[in-house]
């Protein structure tokens, strides 16, 4: 079997995003996420992909009519740590029971049935991407009949997260093997959120593949690209020596999700606290 060379990543064009929420619904349906009677209790809501409203209304300079709003689909950013060849996402090493791990393709996985629900990984995650089943998951009426058999239903008291729909990759891999294709790197797939996006704002692919629209080396050069709370990216070009120095002091999340936007205020808000 060939070694896995794919490194899955995502590019989300916020200028194309209309905030319709189709990605959120597709994700919830694909991953068997429960719907509670009161899902207005946002901090306890179980959702892998949160559609976050970002606004500059607290900025004293941005008075009406200059107040701006954008929608940001936020899921697990599939962090790598400083060295993508030896990925160290902040949430993986902290798990006391090895319920979460990072695969050769860079996807951070979670085994629901191994999780003891200590929530230490949730504490470690800087992106608020991990969610906990505070209540017993319930599936009202006929909803239970439409559950996805490829995704196990999590119990109450366990941590769950976005896995870039890696079960779809496994399904595609099995199909490829059935068709006689044994090269693991020949298998490609699209997660539910990217499939559902009506404006093609969410693009998924291999960050290592030069022919992919998400080829990382090209995306990093894109002036519209910004990563979530990752202001150190600025230093890579502005002050390379400081950048290298910081990488020696500590790990940075180094997420595999890039956001694109031409709006400076939004880039400032997303990149962190430095310019916002």
């Amino acid at each position: 079997m060939a070694k896995m060379t794919r490194r899955w990543g995502m590019v989300i064009d916020l200028d194309k995003c209309t905030g319709c929420g189709a990605c959120n619904i597709a994700c919830s349906q694909e991953n068997n996420l429960p719907i509670f009677k009161d899902d207005s209790d946002v901090p306890k809501r179980v959702t892998f992909l949160d559609l976050v409203e970002v606004t500059n209304d607290k900025d004293p300079k941005a008075q009406y009519p200059d107040v701006k709003v954008a929608y940001l689909p936020k899921m697990c950013q599939q962090c790598s740590g400083n060295d993508p060849n030896h990925p160290q996402p902040p949430c993986v090493s902290v798990c006391p029971v090895v319920a979460t791990d990072v695969g050769e393709d860079g996807v951070v996985s979670q085994i629901w049935s191994r999780c003891i629900g200590c929530r230490y990984c949730q504490v470690a995650c800087p992106y608020e991407a991990r969610v906990f089943h505070w209540w017993k998951p319930r599936y009202e009426g006929t909803f239970k009949k439409s559950l996805n058999p490829d995704v196990s239903v999590a119990s109450r008291g366990t941590m769950v997260k976005c896995t870039f729909c890696s079960h779809i990759w496994k399904r595609e891999r099995d199909r490829a093997i059935a068709n006689g294709v044994t090269d693991i790197n020949a298998v490609t797939y699209t997660p539910a959120c990217a499939s559902a996006c009506p404006t093609n704002a969410i693009i998924f692919g291999d960050l290592n593949d030069p022919s992919s629209p998400v080829y990382e080396a090209a995306v990093q050069k894109n002036p519209r690209a910004v990563r979530l709370v990752h202001s150190i990216d600025e230093l890579r070009t502005k002050d390379p020596s400081e950048y290298e120095k910081r990488l020696k002091i500590k790990d940075y999340p180094n997420p595999k999700v890039y956001y694109l936007t031409s709006q400076q205020w939004l880039r400032d808000k997303i990149s962190g606290f430095k310019n916002s």
């Binding site: 798990c95 006391p96 003891i116 929530r119 608020e128 962190g272 916002s276």
Partner: protein, 409 residues
């Protein structure tokens, strides 16, 4: 049966009116602990105010506080059995019991706090050791080290229980307890070794390794937690017998023992205070800028400045009272010093947890708040009530204070 009822009636009537009222309150809290404990275990953590943003709350603050303050047991044992500070002999039984209860209730609160208590054994069956000999996850280290140290505390407590006058009548039990007691220095040494690790990992390392979190990530946090436990732990170990003496209206521990331990605690509190000032300074000038965050901005919100100010003021009060002989030897000041010492360490944990979680991760978010629900308060206060009842029971039936016991003989 009637004998038992009569015995219980006599016992109850032997207490003063004030103690009886206190017992009513404690039993009520224990009842709430049981009722809401069942609710949380069977229906889940949805009944708490914790959420996906504020993932840990009152019970973990309690755990961190219990372990840091219970750490006084390892330090007092270390001084007595390894450094041979014999004056502490009269404090050691009480100290072991307090340490035992602190660790026991840390486990109990953890059982409520984890989402899948029936899977708690996974921590032993599937530990995250990582590629090297040291555990990869700080929580793995905490689980194993707490377990081992709790076993040590059980062994240390065993001869104390066996010295009950009814059990002590049997020669076999008497000699077993006697020789177990003689071997106690070995367990004190093992306990010290283990305690250094988990004090560091639970109190500091667990937070210091979170490299993506600006208020927690610090290389030295592990060591700060150890010093905090050494400074604050002995304060609780003195405060509890002091309160017991006040309730019993007689001195249960000789003043010498208090003064000896108080001097050590006073000096370690100076070390802790200086270390904490360095800690805040390094966070301000080095660690927060690594995240492109400003320390001043992070200290906003509901639990920022006032928590850290109270913590530092309490530390200073403890330093002054425990180190100045005139204050230390005055009973009221001494109590104030001990309370300040315990309070300072509790506030350190409040700062780590409550303020740490309230800080926003994204620039468009505000600070978060957390108000523990009635269930959380009931389980937390019920745990403390259980600990008080166990201590009262031990004071009555087990020779917890050898000097007082010898006088009675």
């Amino acid at each position: 049966m009637s004998k038992v009822i009569n015995f219980l009636k006599d016992e109850w009537n032997s207490y003063s009116r004030n103690i009886q009222i206190s017992l009513y309150v404690l039993f009520a809290l224990v009842a709430l602990f049981v009722i809401f404990g069942i609710q949380i275990l069977f229906w889940g953590l949805g009944y708490t105010d914790m959420n996906n943003r504020f993932a840990m709350g009152l019970w973990i603050i309690g755990d961190l506080g219990f372990v840091a303050l219970g750490g006084g047991a390892f330090f007092t044992g270390f001084l007595l059995y390894i450094f041979r500070v014999d004056k502490l002999q009269s404090l050691i039984n009480s100290t072991v019991l307090i340490g035992f209860m602190c660790y026991l209730f840390t486990f109990i609160l953890l059982v409520f706090d984890i989402g899948q208590p029936l899977r708690a054994w996974f921590g032993y069956a599937y530990p995250n050791w990582g590629p090297h000999t040291m555990p990869q996850s700080m929580l793995t280290e905490v689980v194993w080290c707490l377990t081992f140290y709790f076993i040590v505390l059980c062994i240390e407590l065993f001869p104390i229980i066996l010295s009950n006058k009814y059990l002590d009548r049997y020669p076999a039990i008497h000699y077993f307890a006697h020789y177990l007691h003689k071997l106690m220095w070995i367990f004190a040494a093992i306990g010290t070794f283990l305690s250094f690790f988990h004090q560091g990992s639970l109190g500091g390392g667990m937070w210091g390794v979170l490299y993506a979190k600006p208020y927690w990530f610090r290389h030295h946090y592990f060591y700060l937690a150890i010093v905090a436990a050494i400074a604050g732990g002995p304060c609780l170990m003195m405060l509890v017998p002091k309160i017991a003496s006040w309730v019993a209206k007689k001195e249960l521990v000789p003043k010498d023992a208090y003064m000896t331990l108080a001097k050590v605690a006073g000096v370690t509190f100076i070390a802790y205070f200086l270390f904490r000032i360095y800690d805040i300074y390094s966070l301000w000038t080095h660690f927060a800028p690594l995240f492109d965050r400003s320390f001043i901005d992070m200290m906003g919100g509901y639990y920022g400045w006032w928590v850290i100010t109270l913590e530092l003021l309490a530390s200073l009060t403890a330093i002054v009272i425990l180190n100045v002989k005139k204050f230390r030897e005055n009973d009221q000041y001494f109590m104030a010093g001990l309370i300040s010492g315990v309070f300072a360490i509790v506030m350190l944990k409040v700062d780590v947890l409550l303020h740490g979680f309230s800080i926003p991760n994204f620039s468009w978010e505000g600070f978060f708040t957390y108000n523990p629900t009635f269930q959380e308060w009931s389980i937390f206060l019920g745990s403390i009530a259980c600990m008080i009842l166990i201590y009262m029971w031990f004071t009555r039936y087990i020779p917890l204070f050898p000097e007082k016991h010898a006088e009675a003989h």
